[in-house]
């Protein structure tokens, strides 16, 4: 039975997303430097936040817990399955919106700097994790191998985060999660940015939950079909 939270998650996510769009497009003023282009501030960083920290973070935690014998369960593997697919969508959207923002501001669609390249590598690694899952038929083997690859891929997350500090990159440094803790965003731009983080996190939660339910239903159907096949074989045996 659905709880109130489960029922409200989708509509609440849409309402906060609509509020972000309304504030981002109509209420907040243009930026001194970037003018109207600043409106992408309310989409791109939030997508990156979800892609790199929230969604992949959930996948990493679920994978680690699966590999730990005391917490191992196929429920965690289903979280990994669902989380990887949702995460790939957010990584893709992060790269696309970054490119759309980069063209008018930087003057180029793409630059092979450390931040952009490591983010693209993250997308490829996640696709690799999904492909590895498809390559294995046995559920236990699939879960174990994908969990290992996810944990190996997780090494890239701090590289992405700190790339703008470690090397000279075209991509600007952090505006919110700054090394000094100082916020570099002004007035209404800041709280609209923070709302966008909240809105896209809710959207992610909604998508993850929907994808998890789909995976759970598929798994249950598979188990029922197996039980039915066993019962049929048993009845055939009894009749013979």
């Amino acid at each position: 039975m659905k709880t109130l939270f489960q029922r409200a998650l989708g509509p609440f996510a849409l309402v906060t997303l609509a509020a972000t769009v309304w504030l981002g497009l109509w209420i907040t003023p243009p930026d001194q430097r970037q003018g109207e282009l600043v409106r992408l501030l309310y989409i791109h960083p939030a997508l990156a936040w979800v892609a790199l920290y929230v969604s992949f973070g959930v996948v990493v935690v679920a994978s680690a817990l699966y590999l730990w014998p005391r917490t191992r369960s196929m429920t965690l593997d289903r979280v990994v399955e669902a989380g990887l697919e949702v995460s790939v969508i957010f990584i893709g959207l992060t790269l696309v919106t970054g490119s759309i923002w980069g063209r008018p501001t930087w003057g180029v669609w793409w630059a092979w700097d450390a931040r952009l390249t490591s983010t693209a590598v993250m997308g490829v690694l996640e696709l690799g994790c999904i492909a590895l899952r498809r390559a294995n038929d046995d559920p236990q083997t699939r879960a174990r191998r994908s969990a290992v690859l996810v944990l190996v891929s997780a090494v890239n997350v701090p590289i992405i985060h700190f790339s703008v500090q470690w090397w000279n990159t075209l991509h600007q440094g952090a505006s919110v999660l700054t090394p000094t803790g100082k916020l570099n965003v002004h007035g209404s731009q800041l709280w609209t940015l923070l709302l966008s983080f909240f809105a896209f996190t809710l959207v992610y939660g909604w998508l993850l939950r929907s994808r998890y339910r789909l995976e759970s239903d598929r798994s249950s159907r598979h188990d029922r079909q197996l039980q039915r096949a066993i019962a049929e074989r048993q009845s055939e045996g009894s009749r013979a």
Binding site: I27, T28, P29, P30, D31, Q32, R33, Q34, G35, L37, V38, L41, P104, T105, W106, G107, V108, A111, W112, D113, A114, L116, T117, A120, V121, V124, L125, G128, A131, L132, A135, N136, D137, D138, Q140, T141, R145, L149, W166, W167, N168, T169, L170, Q172, G173, A174, S175, T178, N184, V185, H186, G187, S188, Q189, I230, R233, Q234, G237, S238, A240
Partner: protein, 160 residues
């Protein structure tokens, strides 16, 4: 043939991963390594730093010679001169060292004074402070400031 006992359908231990499954896994890992390697080779292996700052460039001026590289600095106020072929301007580092940039090409729309830019090109000689660029990239900072702060909160306390 008749069966006197029911068939044993109790769960059994799954077999170890099949050879086919293992081969497919290695194939995926192989493709993944090649793809990641290609991205790293394209983006980072030649140089982890996307550009040299003006100060860094002066620091190893002799090794740079007239080779192409990317140079980063702040566009000095009041130095931009638009030309038929592009724009000329002075770019400065943090230690008041400056470079005259002759840009051939169309600057991006955000190009203006007092912003950091990255120019792709080369010095005209191994001792010259003149840099011929064929591309300007605007490197905007992570600071965002509202264009009209009063639009949100007026002096009388009213909001938009």
């Amino acid at each position: 043939m008749t069966l006197t006992e029911p068939i044993d359908v109790s769960p059994i231990e799954p077999p170890a991963a099949s050879g086919r499954s293992r081969r497919r896994s290695w194939l995926v890992v192989g493709v993944l390594v090649v793809a990641v390697g290609a991205l790293l080779a394209q983006g980072l292996l030649s140089n982890l730093n996307y550009f040299e700052t003006v100060d860094q460039a002066f620091g190893h001026r002799s090794t740079l010679g007239t080779h192409d590289f990317r140079l980063e600095g702040l566009v000095t106020k009041g130095t931009i001169v638009r030309t038929i072929r592009g724009a000329d301007f002075t770019m400065q580092g943090s230690h008041h060292r400056s470079v005259l940039v002759i840009e051939i090409g169309q600057p991006p729309q955000l190009f203006q004074s007092d912003i950091p830019v990255v120019v792709d090109g080369h010095f005209t000689s191994s001792t010259s402070a003149t840099f011929v660029a064929h591309q300007i990239i605007v490197k905007h900072t992570s600071n965002y400031v509202e264009q009209h702060p009063r639009r949100v909160k007026a002096p009388n306390g009213s909001t938009r």
